[in-house]
């Protein structure tokens, strides 16, 4: 086996191991939301959506936004983004 092939294989092995160390924002949406101290609590957003008839499954922070996984009032699966200060819906790259 040539040295070049073994080097390439090693590189692939390192790249394959890379996912173990990668984390962070998904880039689906970003919010210019400043310091988290100024944000409204996640619970308030979840309560607001439940009021609308949503079945909220999870709220996370992504790209400075609140990212909500839920079934909406029509029973549709949604992954929705909200501005954490205004709690306004933010359009994602998918929408």
């Amino acid at each position: 086996m040539s040295r070049r092939i073994s080097t390439a294989t090693l590189l692939v092995a390192v790249l394959a191991a890379a996912p173990l160390t990668v984390a962070g924002a998904t880039g689906l949406a970003t919010c210019d939301s400043g310091s988290p101290d100024t944000w409204q609590p996640q619970e308030k957003l979840a309560a607001m959506l439940k009021e609308k008839g949503w079945d909220v499954r999870n709220v996370k922070v992504d790209g400075g936004c609140y990212e909500v996984y839920a079934l909406d009032d029509k029973g549709e699966r949604v992954e929705a983004y909200f501005h954490p200060v205004t709690l306004e819906r933010v359009k994602t790259a998918a929408e």
Binding site: I5, A13, A16, R57, R77, T92
Partner: protein
Amino acid sequence: MSAAARELRPTVPVWDALVRVLHWSLVVSVAAAWLTRHSPGRWHEWLGYATLAIVAARTAWGFLGSGHARFADFVRSFPATAGYARDVLAGREARFLGHNPLGGWMVVALLTMVALVGFTGWLYTTDRFWGVPWVEELHDTLSDILFAFVALHILGVLFTSARHRENLAAAMLHGRKQVGPAGGESAGEL
């Protein structure tokens, strides 16, 4: 044996066309699924279904196929596998035309992990489990374990290629391997 003499050794078909096509399409679809993990749209989902279809086809071929494609050809008992591992550590392991005992279990591990990652990914798209944090975490953790196995698999291929002075990755492309040197064959080789 000199390099020139090795070149003269005849080659035999080892990996049939289906084994090779399924191997590389699994590589491509798993890599593409990884790259699209946060992409908008449903690419990641469709790639997940593709990996599950490939795993199902390879598993079926492991029972219906012939020769070195069969699980019966390369899935060996734990004592036999442990014996092979000891031989590797002692630097006196036999060469196998098909998968060696550790490689054989790696095939099983990789197929199982891709199936589990695909299954938990599908689960996450059902109304019942959509957005449920533990399903997402399980899917992520299983993918990390899958990629650790992929890294080990590549290192194993690299190591075994070097040990027996043959390019195993290339053999998975063209499907052929050289027959062993006369007198140097082990019981497990063919």
